[in-house]
Symmetry: C2
C-alpha cells in the first residue's frame, strides 16, 4: 500500500475500485463462484433489498416483536423461507415448536392440569389422578373443567400462550433490562416444563419440532438438550438415557417419513448454575452417553444466563475429565453472550477455546477479545450467531449494529441459528437469516454470502467428513432446484 | 500456538494467564507504565467501577437522557471531571454551550425577537427595528414584551430551551428512528441560528464555550465551524474571514485569561447537502483561509446526516483541488457515522482515507470495513469516537456494545469527543469519557487507558510536533497534580 501515500490529484479510481473489491471479496461468500442462474437470483435479491431499505419501518432497525409482521410480507423473507438452509446448529430442546401448538394441541389433551403460581406464572402436569398441590401455587385445575367454566376460551388460551413465550407487543416496557428479560425467560421455561416432559408429549413435541424446521427448509439439526427425566400419567419416570433414546427413535422415524431430511444430533446440556461436584457427575454422565450413543450424541454444553452463572474456568476440573481420561467429548460452549468486559465470565470465550470447543454459542463479545477472535479464526472454531435471540435478550438493538456484521466482513467462521425460536415468537431459521441478510449483511451481502453461511452449517457441524459429503450432496440438489425455480 | 492443540489435562493455567495478559496488554493504554500513585488511583477506580456495575440502573445500559442524572452522582464521574482530559477534537461550533445559558443569558438581552414556525419550531433575530416577518412564521415577538405578558416565565423559558436541544425525558417516543432524530436535530439547529450568529452573542458564546470546556478540564479544542456570516443589530453582516478572525481574537483573549488553556483551532465545515460546484467554491475558500490563517485554521470537513447527504466520492473533483494545486488543506472527514452497508455513503470511510484525511469523525462503521480499518491503523489516522452522540443519533443503544469497545481492545488510534454536547444535554468531555471508561471500556479499561486516550488527543491533534510537546508538558503538570490529589 506504499504507493497510496503519494500525493495524487484525486485518489486513483482504479486503485480505489481495487480496494473496494478487496473488501467485497474478503467477506463471507465473497470468493464464491456463482452460476448464471445464481447471478440472476442475486440481481433479484439486490433489487428487493434496495426496496426494503426504502421502507419507513426498516425491519432490522426494529425490535423483532415489532418487525415480525412486516418481515412476513417481505419478498426477501419469502425467498429465504424457500431457500434450503442446511443445518440449524444452535437450537434448544424446549423452544423448537410454536406455543400455539402447545396450547391448541397439548393443553387440550386429557388429564392436563394447570395451576397459578404466587408470582403470576403457571405450571402444568398430566396425571391420571388429581395431583397434589405444588408449594407457592393455587390448587390444580383440570383444564377441561376450567375451559368448561370460563366464558371466553380464546382469552384463556391466549393468556396461557403469553405465559409460554417472551413475545409481546411492547417489549421495551415488558423487559427493561437484561436481568429482567432473563428472569422472564426462565419463568416461562418453568411454565412449559410440565407440558414437554410428559413422555407422550415429549415425543410429539420433538417430532413437531423437526417438522417445523423441515418445513422451513432446514435439513439437519444439532439440538441442545437437557435430557430431563420424562414422566408418565401414573407418575412413573424415565431416566436421561431413555430420553436420549427417544430422541434417537423419533429422529429415525422422522427421517424415514421425510427422506430428504438428513437427521439430528444431540448436544447434552446442563445449567451453569450447578456446583463443581454436580458438574463432575454430569460430565461423567455425558462421557458415558457419548460412548454409548456415538451416533446421536454430538457433545456437551452449559446453558443459562452467562452473567449470573459460573464461569467455565470455575468448572475446569470437571471439564478436564474427558481429556484426562483420553475420552472424546466434544464441547459446544455458549460463550461471550454478554456485555460484561473484564469480569471472570468475560473469560469464557478464551476458556471455551482453551478447552478445545468445537464451536462457540453466540460469541457476541468476540470482537472485544482479539486473542480469542484470532484463535477462533485460525482453528476454525465457528461462532453460532443467533441474531433475534441477541436482540430479544437485549445485547443489541438495531440489527445493523450486530457484531456479526464485522465477522461477516472478514469471513470469520460463522453459522446462523435461532437459539429459542418459540420463546421469541419466531420459527425455524428464516427470520434469523432475514436479520442476517438484510440487517447486518447490508446491501453488500449477496447470494454467495447466503450460500456460504448454509455450507458453513454443514462444514462446521459435528458430522463426520463422510456424513458431511452426503449431507452436502443432498443439500446441493435442493439448492439447485431452489435457484432454478427462483432465478428469472 | 501449536502447543495448544496438544491434549492437556486442563488448559495449562500459566498459558491461559499469558493469553489473558496478552489481551490486556494489547488494549489502549495496556503498555502504559504507571507510577505508584497512578496505581493507587487505579485501584480506587476499579473498586468504584465494580460498585457501579452492581447498580440496578447501570448508566451505560441506559439512554443518556435517562442516565445523566445517575451519572452526575457517580464518584467515577466526579473523578473524570477533575481529570485533565487534553484536547476535544470533535466538537461543533454551535453546540458548545448549554442551552440554559442561551435562554437565561442571550434571550434576555435587548432587541431579541422570537417567532413560531408552522412546524412548531422557533426562530430568533436581534434587530434595532421591528424585523420583517419570515415566511412560514408567526409575526415576530419582542421577547421582553412576551415575557411581560405571560403568566409563567419559567414555562416560557423551558419551552424555548426544549426547542434548542434534543434532550427530553422520553427519547424513545420522541425519536423513533434515525431519520426522525436527524430531522429534529436540524430543526433545533435552525432554531438557535438567529441567536448565535448575532455578532456580539457569537463572541460571548464562543468565549463561554471555551470556558465550559476549560471548567471540564479540557485544555485544547479543535472546533468544526461553519464560519457563517455574522450580523449586527442594524442588519449589516460580516463575512467568513471576519468570523474566523473573531475565533482567533476570542481564543487569544481566553488563553490570556486562562494561561493553562493551550488554545483552539478551527476545522472549517460545509453541509454535505451542497452540490459539486458549490463544493468547489468552498474548497477554494478553505484553501485561501488555510493559507491566510495557518495558525487558527486546522483544516476542512463536511457535516450533516451522512445517510441523506452526498458521498465524499461525489465531491472528488473539489476535494482533489488542494493536492492538484500542491496546497495544504488537511481533511478531518466525518465518515462511517452510519448503519448503511454497501451503499455509496458506506464508502466514505475508505474515501476519507484515500483523500489522506488526518482523522476520521466517528468511524462508527469501521469494524465493518476491514480494509479501511487496516489503513486507519497503519497510517495512524485516529478515529474520533463520540459515544453519547452515537447513542442519541440511534446508532447504538447499550454503550457496552459500542464498536469502540473492539477498537480499544486492539489499541486502535482513537480519541474521545463529544460532538454536540449542548444538543445532547451534555457538556465538555466528562460524560463521554464516563461512557467510554465505564461503558465500552468495561472493567478491563484502567487509568492507563484513560491516560492513553488523553495523550492521543494531543498526539492526533493538528498541532505541530513542537506545539504538541508544549501542550503535553502543560498537561503532564495538571495530570500529576490530579493523580497526587486523588490517589489514596
Ligand atoms: Zn443458546
Ligand atoms: Zn460531528
Amino acid at each position: 500500500l506504499c504507493c497510496m501515500s503519494r500525493v495524487l490529484p484525486t485518489p486513483d479510481p482504479r486503485r480505489r475500485e481495487a480496494l473496494i473489491q478487496q473488501e467485497v471479496s474478503m467477506q463471507t461468500g465473497g470468493q464464491m463462484t456463482l452460476s448464471d442462474a445464481e447471478k440472476r437470483l442475486d440481481a433479484r435479491l439486490f433489487k428487493m433489498k434496495q426496496e426494503e431499505e426504502q421502507k419507513a419501518d426498516f425491519p432490522p432497525a426494529l425490535h423483532f416483536f415489532k418487525s415480525r409482521d412486516i418481515i412476513k410480507t417481505s419478498p426477501i423473507f419469502s425467498l429465504l423461507q424457500k431457500m434450503p438452509k442446511g443445518g440449524a446448529l444452535h437450537v434448544h430442546d424446549f423452544s423448537m415448536v410454536d406455543v400455539q401448538w402447545l396450547v391448541k394441541n397439548v393443553t387440550y389433551r386429557p388429564h392436563c392440569y394447570m395451576c397459578f403460581t404466587d408470582n403470576l406464572s403457571i405450571r402444568f402436569i398430566f396425571m391420571s389422578q388429581w395431583p397434589k398441590p405444588l408449594p407457592h401455587c393455587s390448587p390444580w385445575n383440570l383444564l377441561e373443567n376450567l375451559r368448561a367454566k370460563v366464558t371466553n376460551i380464546t382469552d384463556l388460551d391466549n393468556s396461557i400462550m403469553a405465559n409460554l413465550t417472551l413475545f409481546t407487543d411492547d417489549p421495551e416496557a415488558a423487559y427493561p433490562s437484561q436481568y429482567v428479560v432473563w428472569d422472564r425467560f426462565e419463568q416461562k421455561f418453568q411454565a412449559l416444563w410440565g407440558l414437554v416432559t410428559y413422555a407422550p408429549v415429549f415425543r410429539d413435541y420433538y417430532y413437531e419440532g423437526l417438522r417445523q424446521f423441515y418445513m422451513d427448509n432446514v435439513m439437519y439439526l444439532e439440538l441442545r438438550a437437557l435430557l430431563p427425566e420424562l414422566y408418565e400419567l401414573d407418575g412413573s419416570t424415565h431416566d436421561s438415557t431413555w430420553t436420549l433414546k427417544t430422541y434417537q427413535d423419533v429422529t429415525r422415524q422422522f427421517t424415514e417419513n421425510y427422506p430428504d431430511f438428513y437427521g439430528a444430533r444431540i448436544i447434552f446440556t446442563v445449567h451453569r448454575g450447578v456446583n463443581a461436584s454436580v458438574m463432575t457427575d454430569v460430565v461423567e454422565k455425558a462421557m458415558k452417553l457419548q460412548r454409548d450413543f456415538p451416533d446421536i450424541m454430538a457433545g456437551f454444553d452449559l446453558v443459562g444466563h452467562e452473567d449470573k452463572g459460573r464461569p467455565l474456568w470455575y468448572f475446569r476440573d470437571a471439564l478436564s475429565l474427558p481429556a484426562e481420561k483420553g475420552v472424546t467429548l466434544p464441547f459446544f460452549f455458549h460463550a461471550g453472550e454478554t456485555d460484561l468486559e473484564g469480569t471472570d465470565v468475560d473469560q469464557n470465550l478464551l476458556d471455551a477455546l482453551l478447552f478445545n470447543a468445537s464451536r462457540i454459542g453466540h460469541g457476541f463479545a468476540l470482537l472485544r477479545h482479539p486473542v480469542a477472535k484470532d484463535l477462533s479464526r485460525k482453528r476454525e472454531v465457528a461462532v453460532e450467531v443467533c441474531p433475534i435471540s441477541n436482540q430479544v435478550m437485549k445485547l443489541v438493538k438495531d440489527m445493523r449494529n450486530h457484531p456479526a456484521a464485522a465477522l461477516l466482513a472478514e469471513n470469520h467462521p460463522v453459522v446462523i441459528s435461532s437459539d429459542d425460536p418459540a420463546m421469541f415468537g419466531s420459527c425455524g431459521l428464516s427470520y434469523d437469516f432475514y436479520e442476517a441478510f438484510v440487517g447486518f449483511g447490508g446491501l453488500r451481502s449477496h447470494i454467495g454470502s447466503l450460500k456460504q453461511l448454509v455450507i458453513n452449517s454443514i462444514k462446521y457441524s459435528s458430522l463426520t467428513n463422510a456424513q458431511q459429503e452426503k449431507a452436502l450432496a443432498l443439500w446441493q440438489n435442493s439448492w439447485n432446484k431452489f435457484v432454478s425455480e427462483n432465478a428469472f
